[in-house]
């Protein structure tokens, strides 16, 4: 099982801030993961946007980076505090 986090506006898109999912055998990298979850949540491309970065186990990665069950994977739209 992988722990998936959707930050900022993406929690509105997917309907929740986090979920635990069993990754399908053909989802082995972040590019495949984006496509799978975007279709699964009918996110209409929101999870595919280049401005949405992915972090695997708290490290920001570039697509395609390997993912597997046991990982914590965060979908991060543009950040900004203050």
């Amino acid at each position: 099982m992988a722990r998936l986090l959707y930050f900022g506006r993406l929690s509105d898109v997917t309907g929740h801030a986090e979920e635990t999912r069993d990754l399908p055998s053909d989802v082995a990298d972040t590019a495949a993961l984006r496509r799978w979850l975007d279709a699964d949540h009918a996110a209409d491309g929101a999870l595919l946007e280049a401005s949405v970065r992915l972090a695997v186990n708290s490290e920001i990665v570039m697509d395609p980076a390997p993912v597997s069950n046991g990982d914590e994977i965060a979908f991060m739209p543009p950040v900004g505090g203050g």
Binding site: G8, S58, P78, V79, G81, G82
Partner: protein, 150 residues
């Protein structure tokens, strides 16, 4: 020192404590960002962080500032969760022997916090809820520090 906190904080008290701690500094600059109170519109701000990535990023920015300017110390406090108008969102304090170093480092850290720090921000008002991402102006402010020598 970096604090990410879900509970409201008193920025003036934070300044008092910081100044006591850095005893001997000639210059102390503080920045406080507060939830704006719009006339007649009650709005709440909601801030999310992703710990410990958020803290690690701010620590790295403070380290960069300390390498770039002769600083005695820095303190960053950032609220997360729900905030009401008038409450502090963010506080940055810088102590240095030199006033311009203190001003520049505080300005630099605020630009980092606005555009690069790992937070997401939602404004909730009677008009509805909206996630707020940095404006072009914020990215331009941030880019000033790349253009300059260091």
């Amino acid at each position: 020192m970096i604090d990410i906190t879900e509970t409201p904080f008193d920025h003036a008290e934070a300044l008092a404590e910081f100044t006591r701690r850095v005893g001997g500094a000639g210059a102390v600059v503080s920045f406080t960002g507060l939830v704006r109170g719009e006339d007649g519109v009650v709005s709440t701000l909601h801030l999310q962080a992703y710990s410990p990535m958020t803290e690690r990023g701010i620590e790295a920015a403070v380290k960069t500032a300390k390498a770039r300017w002769p600083l005695i110390d820095a303190h960053v406090i950032h609220r997360i969760g729900d905030m009401a108008p008038g409450e502090p969102i963010v506080f940055v304090a810088i102590a240095s022997a030199h006033r311009r170093a203190a001003f520049e480092a505080a300005d630099y850290l605020m630009d980092y916090l606005k555009t690069d720090a790992v937070f997401w921000k939602k404004e909730v008002s009677s008009a509805g809820a909206a996630w707020i991402e940095p404006r072009a102006e914020d990215y331009q402010d941030r880019a000033r520090w790349d253009a300059q020598g260091g």
